[in-house]
Amino acid sequence: MADTMGHSATATRNTSVAIGFCLLAIAPQIFEFIWSIGTIFGWGAGRGPATVLISHATALVAGAPAALIGAAGGDTKKASSDVLLALIYSYPLFAVAILTVFMTIRSAQDYVGGIVLMALALFALWASSDLQGMRGFSFGAGTAPRMFGGLLVALGAGIALTGLLADGPGMAHYSWRGPMFVMASIVFFALAIRPLGVVVSAFTSFLIAAMGTHETRWVETIIVGACLTAGCALLFPYVLGLPMPMFPRFLVQ
């Protein structure tokens, strides 16, 4: 096997997968950081970006090891949620990333798929870590999520293991054009529906989505888009009686 694939090619491939896992390991922290930038402009509530950055960095570098040592020494002090995130979610994934470098991946599709599922399950375990567990013989709110989260960690690990043991397909090719424009269209619709109403947001979203393929011909797209918008504007509010704004707010007033 190794001679056909070339050793160096496998090595670079593994490194990029490992780097991907490292990014995945701190993805929630990065997400919260990006989210927190909004608080500068007064959008949303939550911690500011500086606080987020500092608290996660200390949790990752100092807090979690300290908590580990503390736990080993029998100290049951309650850890903060940032430290728990680092402990439950980030550290296991870093460990997986390090292990990945030394593995021969025989089916990247299964291996990466399994690890990402495992990451999701670990994240769910962290998210339900503040919930109450068993109380005597009755289930607490956190029991079932933890049970199934644990099960999914095991299953994800199992799938990843089959990716190491059995030959299978590699990573599939992802295209960016379709997903990007369809997502852009969906997000635009979600943001525009309240202020701009069905007519404007549906038509614009239609045009954005149509950019998802290079085969779009604009004249027919605009005609179809206009007809569809008109149809939806009649169907949803009038025929089905679902209340929604029709026209931009500033025009109506």
Partner: protein
Amino acid sequence: MDIFANLAHGFAVALSPINLLMCLIGALVGTLVGVLPGIGTIATVAMLLPITFGLPPVGALIMLAGIYYGAQYGGSTTSILVNIPGEATSVVTAIDGHQMAKQGRAGPALAIAAIGSFFAGCVATVLIAVLGAPLTKLALAFGPAEYFSLMVLGLIFAVVLAKGSVLKAIAMIVFGLLLSMVGSDIETGASRMAFNIPELADGLGFATVAMGVFGFAEIIRNLDAGAEMNRDLVQQKITGLMPTRKDLIDSTPAILRGTVLGSILGILPGGGAVIASFAAYTLEKKLAKNPSRFGRGAIEGVAAPESANNAAAQTSFIPLLTLGIPPNAVMALMVGAMTIHGIVPGPQVMQKQPDLVWGMIASMWIGNLMLIIINLPLVGIWVRLLRVPYRLMFPSIVIFCAIGIYSVNNAPVDVILAGVFGLVGYWLIKHDFEPAPLLLGMVLGPLMEENLRRALLISRGDWSVFLTRPLSAVLLAIAAFLLTLTLLPMLRAKRDEVFTESEN
């Protein structure tokens, strides 16, 4: 005779003008999505869930049911004429059906497909009516432990019958169970995994996830392949719909066998129309005196799978209506539709909502009658629809879905969540995970958790309750048996692979 009284009542409900209209709309929409490749039944039912909001519950469910079995009719048209399955359930119909069309026998192929479906639909309707009441009585004897075991069995069935890796299918179910736990806990009211997002406090919307994973993800995936599909449409005009005497004689036993097989596979949890059509085709090939005819335009190869998928599509309503447990993803969506209207699916539905249950059963027969009319004389119209290019279709679906999701709760966040689940679904497809078990897990999640909790509470924390109660033990034993049956050959194959590798 109770059944006749009930059926008469059902027909009275189904024949009211509004319900007839709903049935017709369902059948038309079903045929439409069945004909058009690239839009699945699950996505369509998910898309139309919000629309049923403004309708009376009976009409809404009649319409949604019509879409499901209507799609089985429509799918065969595309399979036969274009050699692209319009629907996953008519994949095998394309093999012989398209050959028949190429030989200039498209008319008889379409006719036999429709006749087979109609016959199967009638049988399945009777079956639902006959089996409904006794199964409901059985269900009333179920305690929480039995319910939990039954759901485990259903999920295991789904795993066993899913294509691809067993491990992956189980993982998808567990993922679905986890997703179902987002939101408030039923018993304590504690907010679980909601991250203080108010829109998540009520849990992830079922329609939202379904639309994302099946609607948006399908679109993104289809765009990958290039929007323009190669459509090798049989161009000549379809003449002579009537099958010959020989066709009828050849296909009658195939239709009968397909109907029986489809009805059984439909009732089993995890089954459904797709597997039924494959199984029926295989069975015909095995039984045929001259199997080499298959793949070259054998009429049995059209008759059997088409009867089987329609029978299965209808009999899969049995577990839903009697036990309240959805056997497949479309039925899971029907649960969603019922809950939107405040109906809790379960054995009590049959007694408390006779209008709904019997009206729906009667409407199935009426719907089948409508479908045979919609499909045979009007086949030309449906074929013309196939010329609508995907580049115009997909933005329309995106917008329609987006407005639909928004209208459920008037919540823009739901639309974005559906988009995120679209990406998740795209990723799942790329990694060869099947999304249908995920949906099933998500629907069964709250039910399973509730029954598990209740069973353990009653037994005072004793897990052995699932094994000491006889019914529950039998159900679990079947589940374990099935799972080992599927896992054994896989393990052996894996080990063989490992061994051959190490020998090199």
